[in-house]
Symmetry: C2
Subunit: 474 residues, 2 copies
């Protein structure tokens, strides 16, 4: 019992998870696993820190703000700053990366090993000279800028792995479609190996009945006309890129799931990536980080956050449809607060999965179970355990002191917002602010930032109401 209460209090104090170990170091070691790390722990490659500097960055007293060294350039004059979360975990569980990816058409069949680096990838390291796109240097391939940000929890393992491997999955997925993307004048073919369709769609709809039963014009009937007889949706090139990013997130999560039998990959992480490809900016976000563009002082949101509150209906619906996932300990209904036994038979406000308003219901025994989603704002939790609802990893995460897995409720599917790239844009990504663990007098700081400003401008980061000016990093 003592452990339970202690864990509950730790949870209350600001940790994302009950039972989260703050003492582990690096990409593994959760629960005393003897498995090797998938990758050694470190800070983002583009910072180019020595091992000593990495250690210093985790000083919870000084809490140094890490920024890019003057000699290190990132594309779009990207600025970056991070600071350790006060007292929450020994080391910073967040990760980031910035690279130029070169996507070339795959030779031969699709490779089945997701993390095989079949595409050339230039890193900003070790020369520190940064990532400049060589315009048209690779006549066959397409280059794109790639930024990523991972907000880790319950260990840094998933965030470290994702910061090293997600770009490979992105490249892998884009390889399949790079030739199609380059040919922007022709719509993507519906079926590979067929001639692209140049005729207008929607000339006629054939219904299911005729189609299924082999009516006139149905496939397989003697008078079957060519494909373009049917209604056919035209899929623009951008949708293929979005699909590729979605697939990359899914593959990354599957790889983490697979490899945790061979490696120690602790915890989970949100994932937010941005790629600039063929003149368009794509943002894929699974979690509660934020991407915004600052253009002429105007802030343009480029993503929306996934939290237990914004995803309430999806989560409740899943629990309603598959109640066994609740392990008989939780109810999928939402109440404004915990129901007490003495309130049985009384009427209390509640919300079901298909409601956005509230209504009164008579309290029954089942309503005494803990609510699937509980708490408000930053304290909102799924099954009293986790405060984010999308991301990577967390495959072994269970409700404290139970056998109930959280993962079925966590989606790795990102939300995407394609946006035309205007060269004058400011690009700016920030993770969710987390409250410091203890209420000491230190000013509240955000953990990590990723910002790009156009050369010549001053980088400006907002910290709540307070504005902090950072030196422009070139």
């Amino acid at each position: 019992m003592l452990t339970r209460v202690k864990s509950a209090v730790a949870n209350f104090m600001g940790g994302i998870m009950a039972g989260s170990s703050g003492s582990e170091h690096g990409g593994g070691g959760c629960g005393g696993s003897d498995l090797p790390l998938r990758f050694p722990y470190g800070r983002p490659e583009f910072l180019g820190l020595s091992q000593d500097e990495v250690e210093c960055s985790a000083d919870h007293i000084a809490r140094p703000i890490l920024i890019l060294k003057e000699t290190r350039r990132l594309p779009w004059a990207t600025g970056y700053a991070e600071v350790i979360n006060a007292g929450k975990s020994t080391h910073n569980e967040d990760q980031a990366s910035c690279e130029v990816l070169t996507v070339k058409k795959k030779a031969g069949a699709i490779t089945s090993t997701p993390n095989r680096n079949s595409a050339k990838r230039r890193s900003s390291l070790p020369n520190g000279e940064g990532l400049q796109l060589k315009e048209n240097s690779e006549s066959e391939g397409v280059s794109c800028h790639y930024w990523s940000l991972f907000d880790g929890h319950a260990g840094s393992g998933a965030a470290v792995v994702a910061s090293r491997l997600l770009q490979h999955h992105v490249t892998e997925q884009l390889q399949d479609i790079v030739e199609i993307l380059k040919n922007s004048a022709v719509l993507p073919p519906t079926c590979l190996g067929e001639e692209p369709d140049h005729t207008p769609a929607n000339s006629r709809t054939l219904t299911r009945a005729a189609s299924l039963r082999g009516g006139v014009g149905a496939p397989g009937s003697p008078s079957t006309p060519p494909t373009r007889f049917f209604t056919e949706k035209k899929i623009p090139h951008e949708c293929l890129v979005i699909g590729a990013l979605e697939s990359a997130f899914k593959e990354m999560d599957l790889q983490i799931e697979r490899e945790r039998s061979s490696y120690s990959i602790s915890g989970g992480c949100t994932a937010l990536i941005v790629i600039c490809l063929l003149g368009k900016l794509y943002v894929a976000n699974a979690g509660d980080s934020r991407a915004i563009i600052i253009r002429n002082g105007e802030i343009i949101p480029m993503s929306s956050e996934f939290t237990p509150e914004t995803e309430r209906q999806r989560l409740q619906y899943l629990a309603f449809m598959q109640p066994h996932l609740l392990g008989n300990e939780f109810t999928h209904l939402e109440f404004p607060r915990r129901v007490q036994r003495k309130e049985l038979g009384k009427k209390m406000l509640y919300r079901d999965f298909n409601m956005t308003g509230w209504a009164y219901k008579t309290i029954e025994d089942d309503d005494l179970k803990f609510p699937l989603i509980y708490g408000e704002g930053k304290k909102a939790r799924v099954m009293a355990t986790i405060g984010v609802t999308r991301g990577l990893g967390d495959h072994d995460l269970k409700v404290h002191d139970s056998n109930i897995y959280i993962k079925p409720f966590l989606s790795s599917a990102p939300e995407r917002a394609p946006q035309k790239n205007t060269v004058s844009s400011h690009f700016y990504v920030e993770p969710k602010t987390k409250p410091p663990r203890n209420n000491n007098k230190k000013p509240k700081r955000k953990e990590i930032r990723l910002a790009a400003t156009r050369g010549g401008d001053k980088g400006e980061l907002e910290e709540g109401a307070q504005k902090v000016r950072l030196p422009v990093i070139r």
Copy 2:
């Protein structure tokens, strides 16, 4: 087979449903049912048409536009116009109503008969003098304006019933909370029979672990503090109204389901209602009708449409989770067009429930099934049968020539948009435009309109690019 193809062609020609009978008259008679009608067929009460006029309104050659008679006033100088859908159904399957509801606190226990008129309701008929709210005339009750619009399909039964009864369900639901709503200075009590909570929320979060296991402060433990110790969401009054409208839609749909064993209630209908209650305008929409406000020439959307395309991911997710609903004839995956057998093993574009982009997948046998959602724009259908995904009725609707029910995919849950009522607002509701059944030379017309303008202004209805000026009805 001939029937199947015939039905398929009829479907193609613009009917919403395969097998829809255009010959029935009134609120029932589907499939030769011997059951009595729940209500006789007619046009909206506020039009005050004679039986002769009702017959004339269904003239498919003249297609008269029906508007309000000069002597009939509706609140907010509501304008209204309708015209029969060219050749699609013998009679107009759409319905509308406009009333003043007076909501009084229920005496004693909650009545269990939903359509019992326990609240006073003033109708615009028979005196034709319209619906003026008597300010403060009922010291105990609250009056509100109510507008409704129902776009019927496959018979007028559901639309007729909903236009007569949904307002009772709304009244019924509001009765439970009217006393709470009137007391706007105090937040709604979380639990009825308790004192409303005046203390600020969020003073402390108690975790599930402590709460479930009886830790300090958990309910039932000896030191249990009063309720306000726990995190408690504050629910504003508007959320109760929204919840009441949601419950009203659900109850209306359940009543139709129940009563179809006693009455003939054919088809289904979308439902869009607007109420103006205590100075706020609430829009609840289940279907693809639209509510907009025109304010100083600016159009403010007040609802969004539910169609197979906008609800694709919800429908695919349901089918993914409960594949038996597809009856082994459909696939929950989306393809840009029908997959042909000869394409087995090739790669084709597809979308799953958790994707907004498109990716290529290798075609398997299962992909040859008909897609759950097929077609684009106005031709998009769920299981090749129905073009709307929310509404009332349709409990017996099956995929043509099969035993697969559509209803599990149709939600009666409305979307709501609460909006502050500005008296200078123009209010305007229009149903989806439907294409005429045959391509004759007649200009395309919309079926039914409901519009309110402030006295003194000209009512203005947009018909595609063409603007139609209607006389202002007072």
